[in-house]
Amino acid sequence: MSIFPQMIEQLSTWCLIDTWMVVMAALVAMACAIPGCFLLLRRQSLLADGVSHAALPGIVGAFLVSAWLTHGSGWNFVLLLVGAAVTGVVASVLIEFLQRLRTIHADTALGVVFTTLFALGLLMLRLFADKIHLDPSCIVFGNLEIAVVETWGDSSLPIGVLAGLVTLGLNLACLLLFYKELMAATFDPTFAESQGIPASRVQLLLAVLASITIVGAFQTVGSLLVLGMLVIPPATARLLTNSLPRMIALSMAIGGLSAVLGHALAIAAVGPLLDMAGIAGIEAVSTSGMMTLVACLGLIVAMLFAPENGAFSRMIQNFRMQLRIAEEDLLAVLYRLEESDKPVRTDQLITLVASSSGQPHWRVWAASRQLIRRGQVDGRDGVFHLTESGRMGGQRIVRSHRLWETFLAQRLGLRPEQWHEGASRAEHFITPALRDELAQELETPDQDPQGRTIPPER
């Protein structure tokens, strides 16, 4: 049985709960993208890791206080966020303080503060286990499926959705109000100070926003996977754009999309796929895990195919450059052969250029086809001839080569056996303007150090 009907069948069971789960996860992911972008740019993505650990005592503390306030009947969401904010501030101030002491390194300070706070949180959790109903694994791994059932008062609005809305709203408000300050304190803190922007306080604000966001997300995706949402979408967005506002918008979009796709795949694709592989009986997997996987896939795709920074486009650029070099080598060899008036058969010529420049045979052949296509070389009768435009190109390369050899000999004092190789590499990167400068510097020589004529500029 084909997999697609199965997937569609699975998707057709989509219900209100699924919608709420996706909304909840998407809100969390979009909220994470905002502090995530700034943390990434400050090369402090791991600070998020730390904050997510440090938030534990805050969460437990908030649960304790709300249990005490409401006599064990429930927990207060606002209190939870306040608890997170407080631990965020405490952790950031502690790190700042440890760094000022200068007795241990900055990264050590991070490790010490965050693990200690996490340990404190675990202790509190065990100590007050009878007073609060808090499952440690739920904090670490999250549980969308349960989170969606808990609703706000008598309404049908899940508390997780509310939490996502609040944290996203808070992050957006801070972003819009403090965009200048966040940008300046992230890019150039000393200059920010000179503009009256208290950079260290803005950085503290960022840490607080990150901790609130992480706590807002803990029951949705868990405090471990929230890290993925803080780091992966911003990293993907950075590959796709060079503008900060666009980077933030893109990472929000990528986060949201990962949530939707992640949930859809979790319920519809994994079961049928495993079924096909002979493992039956698994209907759905964790949405939060799938979300992170989808985001990570997006990152891999961006790393491969991003327009400027992607591996694929770099490969293409590299290939183009090597092809250009092969073309220029061919033109230069043909120009030199014309000088000595020795026509060479096409296949011999390609072998000659390939061996002298150390390029693979096929690339030189491809370069020759390009030259013929552009009308720089005429390839009839099994012999290559330069056309007028090809001669011009070859002359430029040879001029660059011989000027550079002269420069190496006269100005750098290199030995004769060192001239040719250096010039063969440099000749492809010398612009007309640089050639003029070289000629002037060398007082317009008409011969290179080996006595060959340096052709004039054309």
Binding site: L41, R43, R102, L177, Y179, K180, E181, M183, A184, T186, F187, D188, T190, F191, A192, E193, S194, Q195, G196, I197, R238, T241, N242, S243, L244, R246, M247
Partner: protein, 262 residues
């Protein structure tokens, strides 16, 4: 020629300023009155505290004692009139920002809290970029600019601020000769418009050519005044010579305690 020095008119008066990192003093009892409308170089060996002098005067590094007064006022009261150009290497040029985005930061102080970058700020930043010859790369990401262009982006940001006093930390570091020339002519233009510029510089050979005033620094102020008067063999020897090792040794002991090195 003797000019009457009215302190409220001097762009920068530093009085008995001592700066320490931890307990180790890096600048000892600096007294300096900067003359207005001049191009001033701060010169000294590596580790002499040149950058520290600027940052401490601006309050970016806490002062252990002493004061710095700009046009007769504390820095916080006169911030927009003082433009600071940090070292180029102090920022991450991979940051997703264009040259214009960076130049516009020169207006951040004037805009103040809660106000987004507006058209006036962008116009001023673009004009400043054109002034340093970067009008055509205003939209380019800063990481794609050459080192000299990046340095000029920083200058444009300071120009956009339209200050009266410019404090520049090594604007000539790792720039090509052409950029150096264009920066120098820009500094001279600023002086001709009545601005004062204090530049941390590391090349003694060009001081006389580029600057009017010289401040020789090595942990303490060795000499300050017109370049022709200050650049004497004795002063240079006092700045670059060895007798400062005593000052440094005492500083070391203040850091590590009496048992500290040597």
């Amino acid at each position: 020629m003797i000019e009457p020095m009215v302190s409220s008119e001097s762009p920068l008066v530093i009085h008995d300023m001592t700066v320490a990192y931890g307990r180790k003093p890096v600048l000892w009892n600096i007294d300096y009155v900067a003359p207005a409308r001049k191009l001033i170089a701060i010169v000294g060996p590596n580790g002499a505290g040149k950058s520290t002098l600027l940052k401490a005067a601006l309050g970016m590094i806490p002062r252990q004692s002493g004061s710095a007064v700009f046009y007769g006022k504390p820095y916080a009261a006169i911030r927009p009139k003082v433009a600071y150009v940090p070292q180029r290497s102090s920022v991450d040029w991979d940051f997703p920002a264009s040259a214009l985005d960076v130049a516009v930061m020169g207006w951040y102080g004037r805009l103040g809290w809660f106000r987004p970058v507006n058209r006036a700020a962008r116009t001023a930043a673009l004009a400043a970029l054109e002034q340093v010859g970067l009008g055509d790369v205003a939209q380019r990401q800063i990481g794609q600019l050459s080192g000299g262009q990046q340095q000029r982006v920083f200058l444009a940001r300071a120009l956009a601020q339209d200050a009266d006093l410019y404090l520049m930390d090594e604007p000539f570091a790792a720039v090509d000769a052409a950029t150096e020339q264009s920066i120098v002519s820009m500094l001279q233009l600023l002086r001709d418009r009545g601005k004062t510029t204090i530049v941390v510089h590391h090349d003694l050979q060009t001081v006389a050519e580029y600057f009017d005033e010289l401040l020789l620094l090595n942990l303490r102020l060795v000499a300050a005044g017109a370049v022709s008067e200050v650049m004497t063999p004795q002063n240079l020897k006092a700045t670059y010579g060895g007798q400062l090792s005593i000052l440094d040794a005492v500083g070391q002991r203040m850091t590590f305690g009496p048992s500290g090195s040597k």
